[in-house]
């Protein structure tokens, strides 16, 4: 009897701990709500859409460590004229009016305490597709984090492509 209750308690404790761990792992919101309901699908995949390349907007991906969210000026470049009546575009225009950047929310990132210094540049040089690490963003309406970019995930890829798994490659 006594042992039974004891074991029950233990099990509960374990479950709770695991739960906490999982929660902490998935601390980042899956698909954060953006200030403007920007629809990637419309810009990338949609037949009658502009069918843009990723780099059309994320232009610095091959220059900088960040792929960089496009400047509102880039957006307005088209939307000065196109779809000006759409509500979302008007939101955009409003931002542009106020000379502000929309407070876009990140979908993929590393916490600072991870001490990760990721740079897009070499990965682009290596000819990686954007979707390998970001999922089929082009087919999403609101961007959702599809790939769980854990360290193990990085390392596996590095191993399979026989890239160095030296800690100093990413951590400093």
């Amino acid at each position: 009897m006594k042992r039974l209750t004891k074991s029950v308690v233990v099990v509960c404790a374990v479950v709770v701990i695991i739960g906490i761990v999982l929660l902490r792992a998935s601390g980042k919101p899956e698909a954060p709500r953006q200030p403007i309901e920007f629809d990637h699908w419309q810009h990338v995949t949609k037949e009658e859409g502009p069918q843009l390349e990723c780099t059309f907007c994320h232009e610095n991906v091959d220059k900088s460590s960040h792929a960089t969210i496009p400047n509102i000026i880039t957006c307005m470049g088209c939307h000065e004229s196109i779809l000006t009546e759409s509500g979302e575009v008007q939101k955009l225009a409003a931002f542009a009016e106020r000379k502000e950047q929309p407070p876009w929310r990140r979908v993929y990132w590393h916490e600072p305490e991870a001490n990760v210094f990721y740079t897009h540049k070499p990965h682009i040089r290596a000819g990686l597709e954007c979707i390998t690490c970001h999922g089929k963003v082009g087919e999403m309406h609101r961007v959702r984090r599809e790939v769980d970019q854990t360290m193990g995930w990085c390392i596996d890829c590095h191993r399979t492509r026989s890239v160095s798994i030296d800690c100093y490659v990413c951590h400093r």
């Binding site: 006594k2 854990t150 360290m151 193990g152």
Partner: protein, 479 residues
């Protein structure tokens, strides 16, 4: 009746031979009644007395204080300690080494005594083994406490992880991890095995829930001769295995230092030196524990001067061995006369650490050795005083092995100094409090002297007549 008399007389010879086996260390020729033995040895368990409660309360408070200090340290960081650059280790590792050392009291000593079949061990072994387990638990805490990020201590454990990382088995700390855990597990088992029959005894002497709990842990012990035989064999095997483990543990602890290239750490004899020191301090701790138990629980008849005398002699031996090692260690440094070594050497012999050093020599050798050598002083009180000195001395010896080397790096520009903070001191006090607490609780739950082992050593003295129970027809059968 007559028949039984006849049987008895018929086998008297063999019985007498068994009598001859009876050792003289136990209480005289006359065997006390089992009920007396039980009531005496189980007294601490049944009615401990106010002294016991006082001890628990006091030591409990000390532990609480230490826990508070620990929380403070975890929230703010190791900066609350006195450690600095270059003294990255200090009281934390001192306590670690010290307690691991103390832990050599039991298992090793009792194992040696068991293997060598020293009869007088009987009332001693369990005190000793209990010391081992608790000291080890305390010592093993420090490698975790002293981490900069203690919440990641499990990274030392080899477990398959998503990050594809693995511990470094080349590190002496990894060796520590394996050695200490093995020793801890081994010691617990080694303490537990001889405890089983006594657990059964407690089971049978207690009622209700307590009976059930004791029942569970006594594994359904019945006391058949088969069980006795197997138990004793198992214990003997354990004893044989545990001795090398015990030796390896403190050797590896010493290697934490010896493997480095620091002056006066990088020494080949550190292994035996530490082991000797460990046994030394262990015996001292054992004597203290026994003396206190004897007084508190009125076990004067069981823990007798002879035990203290013998342990005292052991202590004397170890004291001499310790001195021999220390002398050798320091002589080689001094004779080699390398500047880096001499920097450390001088700081101990004549420098800021001289008082501690010479204090240590006095506590561990100058006073105890002659005292124990003279029979007149090898009394209970005498050995107690000597042991107290030795325990204190050995703590400082550990401190002296660690800190002076760290304060004197090879480049004089980086020499440092060390002053402990209240946090470290509280933690240190806490370890002693914790030890006392655990030990007190142990005595409350289990007989601190192994009842069956004690009885085993008694002469089969004669008294009382057989009372026949059971079905009479059997009686008539055999008649």
């Amino acid at each position: 009746m007559l028949e039984l008399e006849w049987i008895a007389s018929k086998h008297a010879g063999r019985v007498r031979s068994q009598d001859a086996r009876a050792p003289k260390y136990t209480m005289a020729d006359k065997r006390p009644s089992d009920s007396k033995i039980n009531s005496d040895l189980l007294a601490p368990v049944n009615h401990p007395g106010w002294g016991w409660y006082a001890t628990v309360v006091v030591s409990g408070l000390v532990v609480l204080a230490a826990v508070g200090a620990l929380g403070y340290q975890f929230t703010l960081g190791l900066g609350v300690w006195g450690i600095n650059r270059p003294v990255f280790w200090a009281l934390d590792i001192t306590n670690f080494v010290f307690w691991i050392g103390i832990s050599h009291a039991g298992t090793l000593i009792s194992a040696i005594l068991r293997v060598t079949g020293a009869e007088w061990r009987r009332p001693v072994t369990r005190c000793a083994e209990a010391i081992t387990v608790f000291a080890l638990m305390i010592g093993a805490m420090f490698p975790i406490i002293h981490l900069g990020r203690p919440w990641f201590f499990y990274w030392l454990v080899p477990y398959p992880n998503e990050r594809g990382l693995w511990p470094n088995f080349r590190s002496p700390l990894a060796w520590d991890f394996f050695a200490i855990n093995t020793y801890l597990l081994g010691s617990i088992i080694y303490l537990y095995l001889p405890l089983i029959p006594d657990l059964a005894l407690l089971r049978d002497k207690s009622r209700g829930a307590l009976r059930r709990i004791y029942g569970v842990f006594s594994l359904g012990w019945r006391g058949t001769q088969l069980q006795w035989d197997r138990l004793e064999r198992a214990v003997r095997v354990m004893a044989v295995v545990i001795i090398p483990v015990a030796v390896s543990v403190h050797t590896i602890v010493s290697w934490d230092f010896a493997m480095t290239i620091r002056p006066m750490w990088h020494s080949t004899m550190f292994g035996p030196y530490f082991v000797a020191g460990a046994i030394f301090s262990g015996i001292a701790a054992l004597i203290l524990a026994m003396a206190i138990i004897r007084r508190v629980f009125h076990l004067e008849e069981y823990l007798r001067p002879i035990h203290f005398n013998n342990l005292g002699l052991l202590l004397l031996t170890m004291s001499l061995i310790w001195f021999y090692f220390t002398f050798g260690e320091y002589l080689t440094s001094w004779y080699g006369n390398e500047p880096e070594e001499m920097a450390v050497f001088n700081s101990k012999i004549s420098g800021p650490y001289a008082p501690l050093f010479w204090g240590t020599v006095v506590c561990c050798f100058a006073i105890p050795a002659p005292m124990l050598a003279i029979k007149r002083f090898r009394t209970i009180k005498g050995t107690m005083i000597a042991s107290a000195l030795v325990v204190i001395g050995m703590w400082f010896e550990r401190f002296l092995i660690i800190v002076p080397t760290l304060t004197h790096p090879r480049f004089t520009f980086n020499w440092g100094s060390y002053k402990p903070t209240w946090v470290e001191l509280t933690l240190t006090a806490g370890t002693f409090g914790y030890f006392v607490l655990l030990y007190a609780i142990f005595t409350r739950l289990f007989p601190i002297i192994a009842v069956w082992e004690y009885k085993e050593g008694l002469p089969l003295g004669e008294h009382g007549e057989p009372t026949i129970v059971g079905t009479p027809d059997v009686e008539y059968e055999s008649a």
